[in-house]
Symmetry: C3
Subunit: 139 residues, 3 copies
């Protein structure tokens, strides 16, 4: 049993930009000598989050519309008034979806469905450089 | 330290069908030789998800009503228009709740509360056969 | 590779009380001999949950307002009618946010962002004593 750490570096557009991380997670898995275990994908930061979805343009726009409906950018947030950041909605969206996702793999392959991708959503209100951490544990 | 994989096979009714997985996860844990560690429960697919709840009929109906309120089945989703699947709402609900849940166990017992069960929610709009993966890691 | 279990004991005020667990998780990590791996933070119970956020008073009040908006305390829940608990909203909020959070650490340090804290939210409708489990796995 061992632990292996990798990173994904991204430039995002912000504003609920949705990025498919599956190819990079697969690449990192291939570089480890671990064939069986779990990978914890983790967002370092408090205005972006992770989940899985069928990554296709129509669901991308549905997802953006959903977050705008339940946590609108235009609403008043106390965070904005206090800090002048204008990204109160980004924080709430990120906390709701969560920063952490743990995915099993066996025989060197991620156990995802055919139409299931690992996605990163940058909820911040401006373009960002992001670093996502991958912690592989297994044998 | 070792890794052990098990599967749960389910037939669900779809339409936010809520299934208590706790007995099957306990059974699988008893079959491993691991007594202390974590189990990652993972949904293979993009229209179902996992969480914990007090599994009783009143909360089951409250949960269904909640998802129908925030992501209504009857709304228009771009995914439906493009793919003719009519399950755009299923995808959004599943991504929001998430496909992955990691639960600790010690001395061969899951560390759940008395009124806390591991639940699987099938958000798809039709009955489905499902395969849920359990990745045990520990000693 | 090894597994190490620790607990955090809390007294909360309930009613979406938000508690920063980061100092206690750091303390527990320092007491292990594990320097590299993951910690699964787990809520034992079905009316509280975990996520990360920038822990500051304005976002605290934004978060409380958000949960009151999407799952109002004053609404009618079948759970309340059946069990006389009046905490149906607490259950729904907790299931939505989720009981489990897995955080990587390396060289004895949690891999969190500067403005990212591990937070516990007690959604119950009364003060509670809580026990949160930390399962460290690593080397």
């Amino acid at each position: 049993m061992t632990v292996f750490t990798a990173y994904i570096e991204l430039s995002t557009k912000g504003k609920t930009d949705i990025v498919d991380l599956t190819p990079q997670v697969k690449d990192s898995l291939e570089k480890t000598e671990i064939s069986c275990g779990t990978v914890t994908v983790f967002v370092v930061g408090s205005t972006a989050a992770l989940t899985t979805m069928e990554y296709e343009p129509a669901l991308e726009s549905d997802t953006k519309r959903f977050f705008e409906k339940i946590i609108p950018e235009s609403m008043h947030y106390a965070h904005d008034a206090t800090w002048g950041d204008a990204n109160g909605h980004s924080h709430l969206r990120a906390s709701l979806l969560g920063p952490s996702l743990t995915i099993p793999f066996n025989e060197g392959k991620l156990c995802l469905g055919t139409w299931q991708q690992i996605i990163f959503i940058d909820f911040d209100n401006r373009p960002r450089k992001r670093r996502i951490l991958l912690q592989f544990i297994g044998k």
